[in-house]
Amino acid sequence: MNTTVIAFEIMAKGMGGIFAAAAVIMIAIMILQKLTK
């Protein structure tokens, strides 16, 4: 596969992965805050 196409795929997967991780961590902290108030 063309390296440039791969680089676009890496960008999509990478940013998607970081946002997914950040969103899950954010929700987990919110739940933790509620539970431990």
Partner: protein, 382 residues
């Protein structure tokens, strides 16, 4: 007396360039105080490894007797074979970070994610410039704005450019006060930079502070197993800090461990600054790409904050100052201070430091996650 001149006769012009690079790094460290703990050892090491027949790298004396060199040994043991040094440094970094501003406003995690955009822009441009995938990915990770992550990722992926990447990562981290205001002004108006934000943080319970490093390690481990070494050791350090019963270990991690590893890391990395590996066109290209990565990190974070403002306007809620998106990078606390200074310049008395600090620590976690994700994703294509 000929043997006394053997060394000086063997000097190449590339090694002369490296002496200048070494002196330049030491000058930046001493005179400008740019990341002195790393740039000074790297600069001095760059001179040591480039002396002809240098005893700090492996040599064959008189054409037959092998002699081990200490800097080469440190590199092979501490970085090449196990990535031990950058990973251990994360314990100290984790112990230093107070995640309180982020835990009280967890929404800022998303800004930290957005500000990793520059990594992927730099990977794309590096590919277009002809670097192969593992080198392009290693160059892109300069945009994590995190020296240990950059060293680790480039080492794990087997990049041939660990030295230039480390130099670029640490140099640009030190140049955040110059790079970020430029990038922020490119994509914001004066009116946007003057937006005030109220600060009403929710209290953070001790249980949350203790649970946070455990939860983050597990979540990141499930999503990106390759990140576990990075995130796990960062969070281990933070757990030492927050547990409240290991204060002396936490202090040791923050001071002694971090200082010891930092001291050795700089001089160890200098092994990859040998003239024949360093003095070439690729190094200049890598320095340019590092700058691109930092600029696009900032732009990505700011544009995401502007997008958030569109959504907040629809919900009839007060906007955020888009500049806080720009400090979702790992350079803590420099980036948040830069953004606060910009806000105060635009309008006297505008204080957004705590919001910026929350985004900045989010960037520290996000950059480490990004490093692990880049390793995981790129490995699939190699």
């Amino acid at each position: 007396m000929d043997f006394l001149l053997e060394g000086i006769r063997a000097v190449t012009w590339q090694q002369l360039v490296m002496y200048l690079v070494g002196v330049g790094l030491i000058w930046l460290a001493v005179k400008k105080e740019y990341e002195p703990s790393l740039l000074l050892p790297m600069g001095f090491g760059a001179i040591l490894v480039n002396l002809p027949y240098s005893g700090v790298i492996d040599q064959v004396v008189q054409g037959k007797i092998p002699a081990a060199g200490i800097i080469e040994w440190l590199y092979q043991t501490g970085i090449e074979s196990s990535e031990m040094m950058p990973i251990l440094l994360f314990i100290g970094i984790g112990a230093m970070i107070d995640f309180g501003p982020l835990l009280s406003q967890p929404f800022y995690f998303l800004f930290g994610a957005a500000a990793q955009f520059g990594i992927f822009v730099a990977i794309l441009i590096a590919c277009l410039m002809g670097f192969d995938l593992k080198d392009a990915a290693s160059i892109g990770i300069i945009g994590a704005a995190d020296g240990p992550t950059a060293i680790l990722v480039s080492q794990v992926l087997g990049s041939a450019y660990v030295g230039p990447i480390a130099v670029a990562a640490y140099s640009y981290m030190a140049l955040v006060p110059i790079i970020q205001p430029f990038a922020i002004r490119l994509v914001t108006t004066k009116k946007e930079r003057s937006i005030h934000m109220s600060y009403n943080p929710a209290g953070v319970s001790r249980t949350t502070r203790i649970a946070f490093p455990i939860v983050v390690s597990m979540i990141v481990g499930f999503i990106s197993p390759q990140s576990v070494a990075l995130v796990g050791f960062l969070m281990f350090g933070n757990l030492l800090r927050e547990c409240g019963v290991l204060n002396s270990l936490s202090k040791t991690a923050q001071d002694d461990l971090a200082n010891l590893i930092t001291l050795l890391l700089g001089i160890t990395i200098s092994f990859s600054m040998k003239a024949d590996w360093f003095v070439n066109l690729q190094t200049i290209m890598i320095m340019c790409l590092g700058l691109v990565a930092f600029v696009f990190d900032t732009i990505g974070g700011v544009l995401f904050a502007k997008l958030v403002n569109v959504i907040l306007a629809l919900l009839r809620k007060p906007p955020v100052n888009p500049m806080i998106g720009g400090c979702g990078i790992s350079a803590f606390p420099m980036s948040s201070r830069v953004v606060q200074k910009l806000a105060a310049e635009e309008e006297k008395g505008n204080i957004i430091l705590m919001q910026a600090a929350g985004t900045n620590v989010a960037g520290q976690v996000a950059s480490v996650i990004a490093g692990g994700l880049v390793i995981s994703i790129v490995s699939q294509y190699l």
